[in-house]
């Protein structure tokens, strides 16, 4: 069984991204930067109707616009469009303005049909159906264990709550898109993707090409968060336009487009009941939920994943549980996998009700978790985290901090599987001592390229800058998609394998007993004229799965304005053997930032009357910015004996739950919907004043 070196100098240290300078200087070419000879702009015409029968699309006038080289419809013949923003047609031309002008003269004949865009409306039987032959609300999937009704009777404390989470948009900084060149020789696509292989397969399947005729390149890309596994409708349209125009075509979506048709995290409406016995052990749990994944499973969902269901009762083991979950279709774009699909949603409901239980039982929320969390790792993390965070000093009775600006604290835990496999890699050692590692993975922004350099340098006794890493091309040995926090655990063992074998081969060929470090150049020189090329693959024993993490949040809430300011997040995360501490922490930071967005700012808003997305821009779809960020305290538990484990997803899961619990602790009343906006805080406090008139009538000091 292979194992990581006992003594590590680079692995586990803080290594700056080897491609950092290229990225900040603009030398790194993203799919939205590449400009193959003769390339054209491409743009998409989208449905203005939330639902309509489209009978005719006339491209003639568009083709006459100066500069326009090709125009295609998204589908042939009559069709029904089912959401605002669904793709109708696309054009390619020499300038962006030519494309914009062309889109405006495409004539579409359509009969608008009744639609429904809000979950609460859509689930009613009387609402228009998204799919004619299926009710909007699916039959609930039932999952039952033990005797729930009897068990609630045995509980000393029972709490109930209703929690909602919004539809969250991925909004990667680089929008979705591809630059595609399709000629008789084959198809080359520069894709902004987290899965070059799945994009290659997607193009081949869609355009009836052989895999060998398709090459996908994604040397650098600007984030995906689960929404960029396929070429997308935009990729297929770019390919067809390229074919017709006989020129490469680039379609990068606009920020407006990003809000409509390239995925989202499903919403949830969760009714939860939780009971514990007198000794504080969870005993009975019931959940009834629904949420929307847009037009749902009946429609195309590029990249898959992203149903409205989620794990319940999440990380806890309750002997008696009854879970009923439904999906409700609405006339809106489909969901896609989104960083830890299901988990942040599940965590918010479950950790909220856990705190409600703790408050009602009069116990410390951390104590309740220590008693009920089945994971030994997380229990250890709660203890360590509580110590660092100063939980005991900071936790006070809900709503008890003095004055109008109240402080509060909260905590929450998370789990994630991860794991990895299936990756191959090759190394080429040149007589001049240079070395190139090739692997058909891609860097989703997590630092994958640097990670490969770190491992290779460690094993060969070199510096990371000495390793040339080539990734993001389907011509390299295959790896998988970057999803499910599997990249690091998939790639690292393959790099270990190829470097170990290359070193052995180099030593055998040259007769140098230890070719590492100081002997490297001399050894390589002995190769003569031909470089040494070696292949390797993922090996068992160097990586594993299962990452637990906990987070603590401290907030300040202005009860007179409803404004929430997060003051501090402490994150304790297990990630096995940490390969590069710097980029691992950077992933944690990103996860926390995204979690704060989910907690306080982000929500796609659909308009009932017009059926459009009301906030298709960063002006009103609010993303957290630097000024909204608190102090982060990040601790990565180093457990090298477990091997490499991915942490990209678990670190975003508990943030919103911890923040929501901290807000509830500050206020003494729970805001039971995300995001927690000033509107919702003030509304929640108002409700409290109504239900407790004595407090409202108390004269001001």
């Amino acid at each position: 069984m292979p194992s990581w070196p006992e003594k590590r100098t680079l692995i586990g240290s803080r290594v700056k991204r080897i491609d950092g300078p290229a990225k900040v200087t603009g030398a790194a070419k993203y799919p939205s930067d590449v400009q193959p000879e003769g390339w054209l702009y491409g743009m998409i015409l989208r449905s203005k109707w939330p639902k309509a029968r489209v009978t005719k699309i006339d491209l003639e006038k568009a083709l006459k616009v100066p500069g326009i080289k090709a125009a295609v419809t998204a589908r042939d013949g009559e069709r029904t469009v089912r959401y605002y923003g669904e793709e109708l047609a696309a054009v390619a031309g020499t300038t962006k303005q030519a494309c914009l002008d062309a889109l405006r003269v495409i004539e579409v004949e359509a009969k608008p049909l009744p639609f429904v865009v809000r979950e609460e409306d859509a689930k009613e039987e009387s609402s228009p159906r998204v799919w004619d032959d299926t009710p909007n609300l699916s039959k609930p999937g039932l999952n039952e264990k033990g005797d729930v009704d009897k068990a609630f009777g045995e509980c000393a404390t029972v709490v109930e709550g209703f929690y909602t989470t919004p539809v969250q948009l991925h909004h990667p900084l680089e929008t979705h898109g591809n630059t595609v060149s399709w000629t008789d020789e084959g198809l080359t696509a520069w894709s902004s993707t987290q899965g070059i292989s799945s994009v290659r397969d997607g193009f081949a399947g869609n355009l009836k090409l052989q895999h060998s005729q398709v090459r996908v390149i994604s040397e650098y890309m600007g984030g995906g968060f689960g929404s960029k596994f396929g070429q997308g409708v935009e990729g297929s349209l770019a390919a067809r336009l390229s074919h017709d125009a006989k020129a490469p075509v680039r379609i990068m979506l606009t920020r407006f487009d990003e809000a409509l048709a390239v995925g989202n995290r499903p919403s949830s409406f969760q009714k939860i009941k939780l009971g514990a016995t007198a000794d504080g052990k969870l005993h009975a749990f019931e959940l009834e939920s629904y949420g929307t994944a847009g037009i749902g499973a009946g429609g195309s969902s590029e990249g898959g994943g992203g149903g409205a269901g989620f794990p319940a009762p999440y990380i806890y083991r309750v002997p008696n549980t009854r879970v009923r979950q439904s999906s409700v279709n609405v006339n809106a774009g489909s969901a896609r996998a989104f960083r830890a699909p299901g988990h942040p949603t599940s965590s918010y409901g479950m950790e909220s009700i856990m705190d409600e239980l703790a408050v009602k039982m009069g116990v410390d929320p951390v104590e309740l978790r220590l008693k009920n969390d089945p994971s030994e790792v997380r229990r250890k993390e709660y203890q360590l985290g509580a110590e660092r965070f100063g939980w005991k000093e900071k936790y006070k009775k809900p709503g008890s901090s003095p004055g109008p600006i109240k402080t509060g604290v909260g905590c929450a835990g998370a789990t994630w599987g991860g794991g990895g496999g299936g990756t191959q890699a090759e190394a080429q050692i040149n007589p001049d001592g240079s070395i190139e590692i090739r692997c058909g993975t891609q860097d989703l922004g997590t630092g994958c390229r640097t990670l490969i350099a770190v491992i290779a340098a460690e094993l060969l006794g070199l510096q990371p800058e000495q390793i040339t890493v080539r990734i993001g091309d389907t011509q390299f040995p295959p790896s998988g998609g970057s999803g499910g926090s599997t990249t690091t655990a998939s790639v690292s063992p393959a790099i270990y394998d190829v470097c170990t074998k290359a070193l052995q081969e180099l030593q055998t060929q040259t007769g140098i007993a230890d070719a590492r470090g100081a002997n490297w150049t001399a050894a390589c020189k002995k190769l003569g004229v031909n470089p040494l090329t070696v292949s390797g693959r993922w090996q068992q024993g160097l990586s594993s799965s299962g990452a637990g993490g906990v987070q603590f949040a401290e907030v300040e809430v202005d009860t007179e304005t409803g404004f929430v300011k997060v003051k501090k997040i402490t994150c304790i995360q297990d990630g096995g053997l940490i390969v590069n501490k710097l980029t691992a922490e950077s992933q944690v930071n990103g996860g926390i930032i995204m979690g704060i967005g989910y907690a306080l700012y982000e929500e796609r808003i659909m308009d009932r009357l017009s059926g459009v997305v009301l906030n298709p821009n960063f002006e009103t779809y609010k993303l957290p910015a630097l000024a909204d960020m608190p102090e982060f305290d990040v601790v990565l538990l180093d457990m090298p004996e477990r091997g490499v484990i991915g942490i990209g997803e678990p670190v975003t899961i508990p943030t919103a739950s911890a923040v929501a619990n901290a807000v509830a602790n500050a206020l003494g009343v729970r805001v039971s919907s995300l995001p927690i906006t000033p509107q919702r805080v003030l509304d929640a406090l108002g409700k409290k004043a109504e239900s407790v008139p004595a407090a409202a009538a108390k004269p001001q000091a």
């Binding site: 605002y84 409803g562 308009d607 009301l614 910015a625 000024a627 906006t677 000033p678």
Partner: protein, 321 residues
């Protein structure tokens, strides 16, 4: 964006002449270019007014300050003497957009900016303000909308500077053809109160030249609350200005932003505060008076307690000068 002509004006009267028909003045362009890209505006001619002589000057004076229309919001933010004389105005400027926006956005453009209502700004929604027949916000999501309106449109005025300049009793000087007009802030916005398609009282060819802010030895304060810590629109903003002598208030003006289709004030509140002690009870009473006629819609009721808080806090800030 549709094709347009571009011309640089050399005199205010010339600018007005050039813009006649279907033209727009181009200052910082922050709002205008956005409108053009979204096809909300399709001017045939853009008249660049940035080169007009003297209109980029910020001139302190003993009795009043003159702020040219082309002065950038960042210049207001960075002006040390302005910060001492009109702290409310400096703070209001500092809360506009992001620093990049403030570097380019002008005082005239900030005052004349169009509604930010998400129905009005949506390319595929034809709302009342755009000449349609429905105020979608009344029936839809109105969490950012008005508590006060004189017509059916409930999109609020969101100019930070308007709120503060209203409290400071500033005068906007406008070129209309050959003439110049002097408009108070209430006059500058009055038309938007009655007319759903109006954003302010200016006619299409009117050009803002400058703003005069009287000194009057008054203190001023500006506060806003947004969903985010910075680079976000105010949910509610409030400016207050008054003389404070021996703990007593005089010449008081309290103005609210983002709650009405004009910067909202109520004479009853201003009058009530005249000669009163500057304390919490009086501030609260003024807040109640100012919000007395507020009409909440399905999602914006929270703006009432929020506005009351900001009124109280802004007034109490005057106590510390």
């Amino acid at each position: 964006m549709k094709p347009f002509q571009y011309v640089t004006a050399t005199s205010p009267a010339g600018a007005c002449e050039l813009v006649a028909g279907n033209g727009r003045f181009l200052g910082g362009g922050i709002d205008l270019l956005g409108q053009m890209k979204e096809y909300l505006a399709d001017p045939k001619i853009l008249v660049n007014v940035k080169a007009l002589p003297g209109l980029d000057k910020l001139e302190p004076g003993e009795k009043s300050w003159t702020i040219g229309t082309n002065v950038t919001v960042a210049q207001l933010e960075d002006h040390d003497e302005l910060k001492k004389t009109f702290p409310g105005l400096q703070h209001a400027a500092a809360e506009v957009g992001s620093r990049q926006i403030r570097n380019v956005a002008t005082v005239g453009g900030n005052l004349a900016q169009h509604s930010r209502c998400w129905y009005y700004r949506h390319r595929d929604v034809l709302c009342l303000k755009k000449g349609g027949d429905t105020c979608y916000a009344r029936h839809g999501d109105n969490k950012y909308h008005s508590l006060f309106t004189g017509n059916t449109c409930i999109s609020p005025v969101v100019s930070n500077l308007a709120v503060t300049l209203g409290a400071l009793e500033a005068t906007v000087i406008v070129q209309r053809g050959e003439k110049t007009l002097r408009l108070s802030i209430p006059e500058f916005y009055a038309k938007a109160w009655d007319n759903p398609t109006a954003h302010h009282s200016l006619d299409a060819g009117d050009l803002i030249l400058k703003v005069e802010v009287p000194v009057q030895q008054r203190r001023s304060a500006y506060l806003q609350v947004s969903e985010k810590s910075m680079f976000d629109w105010a949910l509610v903003s409030c400016a207050a200005a008054a003389k404070v002598k021996g703990g007593k208030l005089s010449q008081v003006r309290v103005v609210l932003g983002a709650v009405g289709n004009v910067p909202y004030q109520d004479e009853a509140a201003n009058k009530f505060l005249e000669g009163k002690e500057l304390d919490e009870a009086n501030a609260n009473k003024a807040a109640d008076l100012l919000l007395e006629k507020a009409h909440a819609h399905s999602e914006n009721g929270y703006k009432i307690p929020l506005a009351k808080t900001l009124i109280r806090r802004a007034l109490l800030q005057l106590a510390v000068g």
